[in-house]
C-alpha cells in the first residue's frame, strides 16, 4: 500500500494536506516513481488487450509495417524515383528503418491522445499521478516496435547489409523516440480532456507530420541552411536520422541532431508542466 499523494504540503505530525493548488506545480517525479508498479500493470493491460482483441494478433504487428513499406517502395521509389540517398542501401530497407521509428511515434500519439478520456472511469474513481496514463500508452507501443525491429534485421540480412559498429548507439535514439513521443502525447492527451475535438485532429496531424519527417525521403535532399534547420526542429527528423546512421551507416545528421534533441527535451518539459498544471481539473472535466 502506498502513501497517498506526496505532493500536498506535508505539515507537522505526518499529515498530508490537500488543498487547491494555484498556478504551476512541481513535477514531483518521485511520486511518479512510487507508482511505477501501476505504470507496469497499465502498460501490461494495454499490451495484453491489444494482442487478445486483434484477430490477427502479432501477425498484424508484422504485416502493418511490412505492407506499408511495400506500398512506399512501389509508389515512391519505383514510380516517383525517390532514392535512399545511398547506393548501398536499397529503398526497401531505407523506408522500413524510417517506418520503424515513425510508426512507434504515430502509434503513441494516436493511443495516448484518447488515453485520458478512455480511462475516465479510473480518473474519477482512483487517485494516482495522471502521468501514468499517457506514459503507459506510449510504452505499450514498444512491443510493436520490437517486432518491427526484428523484421528490419531480417530485411537487412536478406539484402546483405551488415549492422555497423554505430548500432551500439541505437538505444540512445530509441530513448529520443520515446521522449519525443511522450512529449507530444502529454500535450495531446491533456488538451483532449479540455477540448474534446482534439481527438479528431490527431489523425490529420499524424498524417501531415509524417510528410515533414524524413520517412520516405532522405533528409539530405534538403539543403543545408534555414530549411534544414526548420526540418530539424521536428524531433522525428533527429530520431529517424539517428536510426539510419546507427543501423544502416548512413550519414550522421551532425549538429542538426542537437536541434532535434533540444526540441524534444523542450517539448517534454513543457508538456510535463502543462500536464501537471491541468491534471487537477481532469477528474471534474473528463
Amino acid at each position: 500500500m502506498r502513501r497517498s499523494g506526496t505532493e500536498g504540503v506535508s505539515t507537522a505530525g505526518g499529515f498530508v494536506v490537500y488543498e487547491r493548488r494555484r498556478g504551476w506545480v512541481a513535477l514531483d517525479l518521485r511520486e511518479l516513481w512510487s507508482y511505477r508498479e501501476l505504470l507496469y500493470f497499465l502498460t501490461w493491460r494495454d499490451i495484453l488487450v491489444r494482442y487478445k482483441q486483434a484477430v490477427l494478433g502479432v501477425a498484424w504487428a508484422v504485416l502493418q509495417p511490412f505492407l506499408t513499406m511495400i506500398v512506399f517502395t512501389v509508389v515512391f521509389n519505383r514510380l516517383l524515383n525517390v532514392e535512399s540517398g545511398d547506393s548501398r542501401v536499397p529503398y526497401e530497407v531505407f523506408s522500413f528503418s524510417g517506418l520503424l521509428a515513425w510508426q512507434f511515434f504515430a502509434g503513441a500519439l494516436t493511443r495516448s491522445g484518447v488515453s485520458l478520456v478512455g480511462n475516465s472511469n479510473l480518473l474519477t474513481k482512483v487517485y494516482f499521478p495522471r502521468l501514468v496514463i499517457p506514459l503507459s500508452a506510449v510504452l505499450a507501443g514498444l512491443v510493436d516496435f520490437v517486432i518491427s525491429f526484428v523484421i528490419l534485421l531480417v530485411l537487412m540480412a536478406a539484402y546483405g547489409i551488415a549492422p555497423t559498429w554505430q548500432t551500439v548507439f541505437l538505444p540512445l535514439f530509441v530513448l529520443l523516440a520515446i521522449v519525443s513521443a511522450l512529449a507530444v502525447s502529454l500535450w495531446l492527451s491533456a488538451l483532449n480532456v479540455l477540448y474534446r475535438d482534439v481527438q479528431y485532429v490527431i489523425p490529420f496531424l499524424v498524417q501531415l507530420w509524417m510528410f515533414v519527417s524524413p520517412v520516405i525521403y532522405p533528409i539530405d535532399e534538403i539543403q543545408a541552411g534555414a530549411l534544414r534547420i526548420a526540418f530539424s526542429l521536428n524531433p522525428m527528423t533527429g530520431v529517424i536520422g539517428g536510426f539510419r546512421w546507427a543501423l544502416l551507416g548512413q550519414q550522421f545528421p551532425g549538429r542538426y541532431m542537437w536541434i532535434s534533441i533540444a526540441m524534444a527535451v523542450a517539448l517534454l518539459l513543457g508538456g510535463l508542466f502543462y500536464f501537471r498544471r491541468m491534471e487537477r481539473v481532469f477528474a471534474d472535466v473528463v
Binding site: M1, G8, V17, R20, E37, K125, F128, V285
Partner: protein, 429 residues
C-alpha cells in the same frame, strides 16, 4: 489531538455549470469565443464575459475523524456525499478549505474500477489490485485468499466478459476487501451483489473496522449505517446538517422525510430524465383516487407514471422500485417485464401498474421511479427527490388467527394444501 487522522477545515467545492451543462469544451468553440470576446467587450463594456451558473457541491465542511472511528455519511442524492469522498480520496481538489489526512488511504468509490472485460479473472485481480494501490508482492501474498473470498473458483482463467454480473461483482469486491489501508473510504458499494454476498462484505467491513482501522462509509442502506458506524454525519445540499452517534443521526434523517406523499409532479423543463424520457408525474392511487397516505393492503394499489418522450427508443424501460421503510429494495418492475409492448412513440404517455392486493404488510413503504435504456444507462434511478412514501394498514387476512401485523416486509396470504402424509398412513394390505 494526537489520534485525529483526518480533518477538514472549511472544505468547499464549487462546480461551474455552463449554459450547456457540459464541463469540457471544444477547441472550435474556444477559438470562436476568443475571436468574439474583444468585439463583445467593445459592444457591452463592463458586462461579465461569461455568466455561468455556480453550484456549491460542498460548503464549509468541518469534520474531525479519530483513529478507529467508523463514520457513516448519509444524505439525499446531490447532498455532496460522493464529492466529499472524492476530495478525501485526492481525486479532485477542493475549491476552498483543506484536508489533512494521516496514514495510508484506500478508497473504494466503485467496485471493479479498471476491470477489463477481455482479461481473465486472474489478470484482473492483479490489475485491479494495482489500481487500488496494492503492490505486486502484496497481491501475490493475498491472491489465494482473494480467489477464495470471491467464490469464482474454476472461472479464474476465464475472461470476465463471460462472467455473470454476480460473479463479476464478487470478484471485484474480493479484491477491494483485501485492501489493507489505515483509512478506508467506501462509497455505496454494498448496493451491488446478491444478499448473502452483501452480508459477507458487511462482515468483512466490520472486521476491518474492528481492527482499529478508520472507515468512512457512504450508504443509502441506513440499516447498514446504524449497524456498522459509530458516528454519522448528515449532508444536505452540500452543507453539514448534523454530526453525532450514528443511531441518532439516522433516526433524525428518517423522520425528517416524514411527510407522506402520494404524488409528485414536475413541469417539463424541470422534470427528471432527458429527451428520451422525462417523468412528469408519479403517483399512487387506490380505488381510483389519489391515495393520501392511507393505503389498505386489501385493495389493489395503482402506481401511475406520466412520461414525455421526445426521442423514442426501443430500449426504453419505465418502472419503479418498491422499498421498505429502511430503504431496502423489495422489488423492481418495468413496463417491459411481461408482454412485449409497442415502442412508446414520441408524446406524453400515462403508464400504470398494479401492486396486487394482499401482498404488503403494515408499515412504511417507499416508491422510487426508474427509467432506463435496457443494458445501457439509467435515465432515472435513486431519485430521492421523486420518492413517494406511504403507510399501509394491514387488513387483508380473512383469517381469525391473523389480526395482528407479523414480522416481515411482505405479508401475502399464501395457499396451503393438506393431505395425509404417506408415512403416517394406516397400513392396510
Amino acid at each position: 489531538m494526537s489520534d485525529v487522522v483526518l480533518r477538514t477545515t472549511g472544505l468547499s467545492k464549487m462546480y461551474r455549470i455552463g449554459g450547456e451543462r457540459q464541463a469540457y469544451r471544444t477547441l472550435r468553440e474556444t477559438l470562436a469565443q476568443l475571436a468574439r470576446r474583444p468585439i463583445e467587450r467593445i459592444r457591452h463594456p463592463g458586462a461579465a464575459t461569461h455568466a455561468s451558473e455556480v453550484l456549491w457541491a460542498l460548503r464549509d465542511i468541518n469534520i474531525e475523524v479519530k483513529r478507529g472511528e467508523v463514520l457513516g455519511v448519509i444524505g439525499r442524492n446531490g447532498a455532496g456525499k460522493t464529492t466529499l469522498l472524492k476530495i478525501l480520496s485526492h481525486i479532485t481538489e477542493p475549491t476552498e478549505g483543506r484536508v489533512e489526512i494521516r496514514g495510508r488511504v484506500g478508497s473504494l468509490l466503485e467496485v471493479g474500477t479498471g476491470f477489463h472485460a477481455e482479461l481473465t479473472g486472474r489478470e484482473n485481480i492483479y490489475l485491479n489490485g494495482a489500481i487500488l494501490g496494492m503492490t505486486r508482492t502484496e497481491i501475490k501474498r493475498k491472491f489465494d485468499e482473494i480467489v477464495e473470498f470471491s467464490e469464482i473458483g474454476r472461472f479464474l482463467d476465464t475472461p470476465v466478459k463471460r462472467y455473470s454480473s454476480g460473479m463479476y461483482v464478487r470478484l471485484a469486491f474480493a479484491v477491494a476487501a483485501h485492501l489493507d489501508p489505515e483509512i478506508l473510504i467506501v462509497d455505496e458499494v454494498l448496493s451491488v451483489g446478491d444478499f448473502s454476498f452483501q452480508r459477507k462484505c458487511l462482515g468483512k467491513m466490520e472486521d476491518v473496522a474492528g481492527h482499529g482501522r478508520t472507515v468512512l462509509f457512504v450508504s443509502h442502506n441506513l440499516t447498514a449505517v446504524t449497524s456498522l458506524c459509530t458516528r454519522a454525519i448528515l449532508l444536505d445540499k452540500g452543507r453539514l446538517l448534523a454530526d453525532g452517534p450514528a443511531r441518532d443521526i439516522v433516526g433524525g434523517y428518517v423522520s425528517s422525510g416524514d411527510e407522506r406523499e402520494s404524488s409528485k409532479e414536475w413541469c417539463a423543463d424541470r422534470a427528471l430524465g432527458d429527451e428520451r424520457a422525462r417523468l412528469l408525474r408519479f403517483e399512487i392511487r387506490q380505488d381510483g383516487r389519489e391515495a393520501r397516505g392511507g393505503i389498505r393492503s386489501s385493495e389493489t394499489i395503482e402506481v401511475a407514471l406520466t412520461v414525455k418522450i421526445d426521442r423514442p427508443s426501443p430500449k426504453l424501460q419505465i418502472g419503479f422500485e418498491l422499498l421498505d421503510g429502511d430503504g431496502v429494495e423489495i422489488l423492481q418492475t418495468f413496463h417491459t417485464d411481461c408482454e412485449s409492448l409497442e415502442v412508446l412513440p414520441a408524446g406524453i404517455h400515462a403508464l400504470s401498474c398494479d401492486i396486487p392486493r394482499g401482498l404488503l404488510n403494515a408499515g412504511r413503504y417507499l416508491l422510487r421511479p426508474l427509467v432506463a435504456l435496457y443494458c445501457e444507462e439509467w435515465l432515472i434511478s435513486r431519485a430521492d427527490e421523486a420518492t413517494l412514501r406511504f403507510d399501509v394498514t394491514f387488513d387483508h387476512s380473512p383469517s381469525e388467527m391473523w389480526y395482528h401485523a407479523r414480522q416481515g416486509v411482505l405479508a401475502p396470504c399464501l395457499q396451503w394444501r393438506q393431505s395425509t402424509a404417506p408415512g403416517a398412513a394406516p397400513a392396510d394390505v
